[in-house]
């Protein structure tokens, strides 16, 4: 049963590390975009569009971690084998 405890830890820590990097990256992107809009408010439409694409690209990293965490928690491919081993 230790296997499942480690699964929980892996999912939690994976999500934490993934969102840490994603948060830093999105913060940097928004900082640059806000500075750009502050200097040239006329270009806000173009900057917003580009920033959205960039944010979606960065965010997809956290989303991948989330999908992996969900696979670990709910659709773990090794669960039947572990249950079989534990049953012995």
């Amino acid at each position: 049963m230790e296997f499942f405890a480690w699964c929980m830890i892996a999912a939690g820590f994976g999500m934490a590390i993934g969102s840490f990097g994603t948060g830093l990256g999105q913060g940097l992107a928004i900082k640059a975009a806000v500075e750009g809009v502050a200097r040239n408010p006329g270009a806000s439409g173009k900057i917003l569009t580009t920033m959205m694409i960039g944010l979606a690209m960065i965010e997809s990293l956290a989303i991948y971690v989330f999908v992996v965490a969900m696979i670990i928690l709910f659709a773990n491919p090794f669960t039947p084998q572990v249950m079989e081993l534990a049953g012995k």
Partner: protein, 224 residues
Amino acid sequence: MTHPFLFLKWLEEQLHTHVGEHVTYTWLVMLVLIAIAFLASRAIKVVPTGTQNFMEVVVGGIENLIDETMGPKGKTYFPLIATFALFILVSNLVGLVPGFYPPTANLNTNFALALTVFAMTHIIGFKEHGLSYLKHFMGPILVLAPLMFIIEIIGHLARPLSLSLRLFGNMYGHEIVLMIFFALVPFLLPVPMMLMGVLVACIQTFVFSLLAMIYIAGALEEAH
């Protein structure tokens, strides 16, 4: 799993069929869209009112976006992009209504959409450039072409994966967050989360259609 009651799933169980709730709700979204399109275009007037007015704003907005992103060549692909945008927006937003399941919270629906984008980009590329479309994959230097070819192929194959997983992760993640909040404090606490759900639904629609546009525009431009 995340919704306690889905009326179409219940209906399906009454009829003893096993289509899957994401398929039935996709049909529902399709019906809603067809009904709206029919209502808007049933009696077209020069001075629009009601549904026609609303749909003109929506379609005009998408048309503007395509014009900004893809230039004059993009007009041809307006039906494809607008269909993506409307379908994804409606199916994202439908998940916020109790008893409805967003079809985009299932990987199968998203992968179908992403594969359509993937296939369309290459079909458009070959139609536009003929066999010289392969130059897109070769890179600038001919000696490095075998190396670039493999890298480009991997890059192109990652596109449908990232497109579908992004939409799926956002919608499914939002469902799970909502469900956890409902389990913790059912009173008023999920409301700000649902507000964020509206935001996420709109942004993900925007991102998906924008990326589809960029991919198609990338296939349209000349290789260099």
